[in-house]
């Protein structure tokens, strides 16, 4: 088991100084062609590669970015990671991931773990718990130490940093307008409790669409799910609630759900109640994941372009890292990614 070779070893072996080796490898004009050739040949033979850690220390730059997300087993977030990884790699950066698991303390710990020199900047989407607690000190501290942050999807407006968000409001509005155009008269909304920023915006989009078409929103058509529960394990509870919604409102002919699972559950319940999709009820979901595509009937849904979000976020962060020309009074951007309604079988 041979250790990785270092400049020092090459220098000793060739009986020159470390500086000479370093310069020779970087093709400095200071070094004679003879020596360069000798050194480069030797380095190649022993497969020399500069030690990244040493470079990071010297340059005070790690060329690594940290991404912290609430959950990785999730189509949306993994697509974002893919986007981040793609541009990060192309631009010479590595990506280190931290999972907050929707917990505030894990988010804080993860950030502290990485902020001590391991990375140059953060890309993150905040956890539900953080959204509830509204405790953002860790973001402020990190930024005050000169480490840039880019937030995506679940952002917090109080924090001044670059952001990449989905146009949740318009996405929702377009979806609901689609239902309205498709002659739905009684459109229900299945959403989350209001503290989830994106849930709130999508709810607002639903309301906007109704208002625009002079439809009176009815409270009994709005189902707010408590998603602090892990809904994967509380599937029946979810379905019960939806079934209740249907039974109390027999005239529902359209459903807009703020995520895939709610939409799928709605379809399942509808089928159970003998309703045909899309003839009796039309359904639109949010987030273009695998479920939407492969369900039967396949689900019309609002795509968020997750990968593109990741790409934008990474570009934003790396631009900031590389333009540290101390612009003073830095300016922060918010990039809005437009949604796209992907029409499938669950709507007419």
């Amino acid at each position: 088991m041979k250790r990785k070779i270092t400049l020092k070893q090459i220098a000793r072996e060739l009986d020159v100084s470390i500086s000479t080796v370093s310069k020779a490898l970087r093709n400095s004009a200071e070094i004679s062609d003879d020596t360069k050739q000798k050194v480069q040949a030797f380095a190649k033979l022993y497969n020399y590669r500069p030690n990244n850690i040493a470079l990071s220390l010297k340059n005070r730059k790690t060329n690594t970015i940290g991404i912290i997300i609430p959950e990785i087993v999730h189509h949306f977030f993994s697509k974002v990671i893919r986007g981040v990884e793609l541009v990060a790699n192309n631009r010479g950066y590595n990506v280190i991931v931290g999972l907050s698991n929707e917990s505030f303390s894990k988010e804080v710990i993860n950030m502290e773990m990485l902020a001590n020199g391991s990375i140059d900047g953060f890309i993150l989407s905040i956890s539900k718990e953080t959204q509830q607690l509204q405790d953002y000190h860790h973001f402020n501290e990190t930024m005050s130490q000169g480490m840039p942050i880019v937030m995506f999807d679940r952002v917090v407006s109080d924090i001044n940093c670059d952001k990449v968000i989905v146009d949740d409001l318009n996405g929702a509005r377009n979806a609901v307008e689609k239902l309205i155009k498709n002659k739905c008269k009684s459109i229900a909304l299945i959403t989350t409790k209001d503290y989830v920023s994106v849930g709130k915006l999508r709810t607002q989009g639903y309301l906007d669409a109704l208002e625009k078409h002079q439809i009176q929103p009815k409270a009994e058509l709005i189902l707010k799910i408590d998603d602090t529960l892990d809904y994967e394990t509380h599937l029946e509870a979810l379905e019960k609630e939806i079934e209740q919604l249907f039974k109390s409102n027999k005239n529902i002919d359209g459903i807009f759900a703020v995520n895939e699972l709610y939409a799928l559950s709605a379809m399942k319940v509808a089928r159970k109640l003998g309703l045909d999709i899309p003839n009796d009820i039309q359904v639109i979901g949010f987030t273009d994941g695998v479920l939407s595509k492969h369900s039967t009937p396949s689900l019309t849904t609002v795509s968020q372009h997750a990968q593109q979000m990741g790409e934008k976020a990474a570009d934003l962060l790396i631009n900031k890292l590389e333009n540290k020309i101390e612009t003073e009074e830095e300016e922060f951007q918010t990039i809005v990614i437009e949604t796209e309604l992907i029409e499938r079988e669950s709507t007419k």
Copy 2:
């Protein structure tokens, strides 16, 4: 924008030496209580945290592990990552991800990028292209430099390293036996081309089960899909092939598919042909992803315990890293994760 504070700055500020500060913070007995208190208070005030990069350089240990996977937008792999992250974090390690995107060269590049000091060891699952090319020099080189590797799921038997694998053969056999016990007389197999190691093993499991029950395997019941195509985009092609299978073999009453998507497509085609699941045809898939759980009918499937695989892999790697007592003649383990048949609506 204040930079992170360093030992040197604290030392200058308090008019002591760097060594004294360092020792005081680590509560060394060499330092007087007075000085310790002074230093510790100051450090706390300025929120001092040792610079990770400097520590890594000094200790020749980064406390970071690299994981390289073919694809992150994939339920199985993201679950593995979650497992890795979980134990890595608990044991004080960070995780840095690289995506090979099923490409040999990206796999190599990613490994080289990380092997230069950024990480202490690898966890990886090899890309399809690497499996085809059978070029494993990058693994050997990495290991010969003293960097341990743990392979999971898609492993290569020629390489001597720790491994975590799924019992694909038995998982498949059990699934097919389940179909046999459920009175299926004509069981079809939908699998991949043979170079994918796991596909091969699952195919073998299918054959074993048939043989055990004295059923003659028929070539026309075995459909081998070329999955170098991205099947997400070639869905229709896939369905066409399956439809052909059904039409040429009208008596098929059981399907075993080596992944979720094949199984789902089979169900879709069956439904289209007017067949009832599970009464006319029973279906079992492999990999317990979201699709299996939320499809209608929900899919009986072979679960691989992906998260557990990730956990085991991480434990294996970290154990190796921390027991570098130079056991000489090191020994490598292969941990086999047993599968579990999760019965749902697609079987009787």
